[in-house]
């Protein structure tokens, strides 16, 4: 896929969770090129003296009608904080679209069962656009969203547009109490394919579950990276094929590629 570099304009910057998280809606003068669910963008943070590298952020949603790209960002350090302070009308420079994206089962007849999309914390971000694309292809994706506490379960209304939602929180303040892998929906099973993105321990638990049940599964990795385009070789993941760049051969990887000892 051809990659681009351009300035985008902030249409909306919606904070939630006491400004711990925010939703940036960006638009481009020309038509947004095809972006696949699971791909990411490299965001330039120009006004933070401690932020040197671009920040890789996954595509949360592409609103084709409004020609908007959504990014769901958690404030982690100075770079994401500065980005969160950007106002409507400000310009943000992006390199896009990057990475491979989740595999979409084009032929619906090949998958007779159900698709489960499991996200944790801000890791739910790429699953919204994935869910939307799966629905468009005729599937009925289901979402299992996990968080520490109720307020950290993000974008429930948006996810609800594209499929059924199950929730877990560590304190039980919303949905079932515990981790995503404790949810009763996983006991009843019947899933053909699991997509997951979130903190590494959560993804590891999901991978263990998928391996035990023999369910096909893809994870979205977030190894720290510099270039985002396969030049620096910093973001490598050790796979069954050796070290590969997460920015070009990921961020999405099938679990049969991973060498995680779990």
């Amino acid at each position: 896929m051809k990659k681009y570099i351009a300035d985008w304009t902030i249409k909306e910057n919606i904070p939630f969770n006491d400004n711990e998280c925010y939703l940036l809606k960006l638009s481009l003068e020309e038509k947004i090129p095809i972006i696949l669910p699971g791909q990411f963008v490299q965001v330039l943070v120009e006004d933070s003296s401690t932020t040197f590298l671009r920040r890789p952020i996954s595509v949360h949603f592409v609103d084709k009608e409004k020609n908007e790209l959504w990014l769901l960002v958690q404030v982690i350090g100075n770079g994401t904080r500065k980005l969160s302070e950007r106002k409507k009308g400000d310009r943000v420079n992006l390199i896009y679209p990057l990475g491979n994206g989740f595999s979409l089962p084009e032929d619906k007849s090949k998958i007779t069962g159900k698709l489960l999309l499991i996200g944790g914390g801000v890791g739910v971000a790429p699953l919204l656009y994935l869910g939307a694309c799966l629905q468009e292809l005729g599937y009925s994706p289901e979402f299992l969203l996990g968080a520490k506490i109720k307020k950290d379960v993000l974008q429930i209304n948006e996810f609800g547009k594209f499929g059924k939602i199950y929730i877990t929180t560590e304190d039980g303040s919303a949905g079932e109490k515990g981790f995503v892998t404790n949810h009763s929906i996983l006991q009843s099973g019947g899933f053909d394919f699991i997509y997951t993105c979130g903190p590494k321990p959560m993804m590891a638990a999901v991978v263990r579950y998928a391996r035990e049940k023999g369910i096909a599964c893809e994870v979205s990795l977030e190894n720290t990276m510099a270039c985002g385009i396969g030049a620096c070789l910093c973001c490598v993941e050790k796979t069954v094929r050796g070290n590969v760049c997460v920015c070009t051969e990921g961020p999405v990887m099938n679990i049969n590629q991973l060498t995680w000892q779990i």
Partner: protein, 301 residues
């Protein structure tokens, strides 16, 4: 219009802007962003005789205005380069230069000899300064004796333009520069990364898998500039300045310090179009100051 052509070791370059090894892949990674043929040259990823898996993750730490890396020369080896990569990049209309590294003198020699046979590779950059490999690399470049030995051995079998990339992790870089010049290097490029370290205070452990790593980016520019200036006074061969260049002004400073050409490294990650902006910026500068050619600017301060 000022003339941007330069010559190093008998080889012409359309302009003095090259991209640094390890930051530009094999060139094609940047083909969507810039017209590669507008570059003076591309120095491709460090290549070794045998395939190398590189170091374990984590390989990178962001630092104030820079970064540390410990990639460790991950590459598929020179034979793979020749059969799979070279055919795809050989017709890029710029000077394609291969960065050659090794763990032993024999590895350097065999690898360089294979690349000597490639028609569209008119030069190599001998990497005796990689800080991220256990054997070879920087071990050769931090001591005059071993630097001389490896350059002498490669010079015997490599018949095209030979650049030697120098390490800044030495007491006196000019001694090493003189040593490799004496063994027949056509040019020296400097500086490779500075040895550094990052610690995660919360986890109480080093950030990088190998603890120490190579520092690059704008934070190292003053050190690189100083070393280029010192080396320019110590050797006769042309110098290629590299280290923290992020805009045309930086590039001009290196040329004023005595560099004939420059390399853009880490900043390619921040702005993949920066190299072309620097080509344009240098040209504007020359026109604005009434210079006819870039050559008039080298060491001119």
């Amino acid at each position: 219009m000022a003339n941007l052509n330069i010559e190093i070791g008998g080889l012409n370059f359309k302009n003095p802007v090259l991209t640094a090894s390890g930051t530009f892949g094999y060139g094609s990674e940047y083909g969507d962003f810039i017209d590669l043929s507008r570059l003076g040259g591309i120095i491709v990823k460090g290549t070794t005789l045998y395939p190398r898996e590189g170091n374990n993750y984590p390989r990178m730490a962001e630092t104030p205005v820079g970064m540390l890396n410990v990639v460790g020369l991950q590459n598929k080896g020179v034979d793979y380069f020749i059969s799979e990569i070279y055919p795809k990049i050989k017709d890029i209309d710029t000077r394609m230069i291969v960065n050659v590294s090794g763990s032993t003198i024999e590895e350097y020699v065999t690898c360089a000899a294979k690349i000597n046979e490639l028609e569209k590779i008119p030069a190599i950059e001998l990497n005796i300064s990689c800080p991220n490999v256990k054997e070879g690399g920087m071990a050769f470049g931090t001591n005059c004796g071993s630097a001389s030995k490896v350059v002498k051995a490669v010079r015997k079998i490599y018949h095209k333009m030979l650049i030697v990339k120098l390490s800044p992790n030495v007491t006196d870089i000019t001694e090493i520069a003189r040593a490799v010049e004496a063994e027949g290097a056509d040019s020296v490029s400097l500086i490779n990364t500075l040895l550094g370290m990052a610690i995660d205070a919360e986890k109480r452990q080093p950030v990088l898998s190998t603890v120490t790593g190579g520092l690059s980016g704008p934070c190292i520019k003053p050190v690189a500039l100083r070393m280029v200036w010192q080396t320019a006074k110590a050797v006769k061969v042309p110098i290629i300045g590299v280290g923290g260049i992020s805009n045309w002004k930086d590039a001009i400073e290196f040329i004023l310090a005595g560099a004939t050409a420059i390399q853009i490294g880490t900043y390619n990650f921040i702005d993949p179009t920066v190299s072309i902006k620097i080509v344009d910026g240098i040209e504007n500068y020359l026109n604005r100051h009434g210079f006819d050619s870039i050559g008039e600017l080298i060491g001119n301060m």
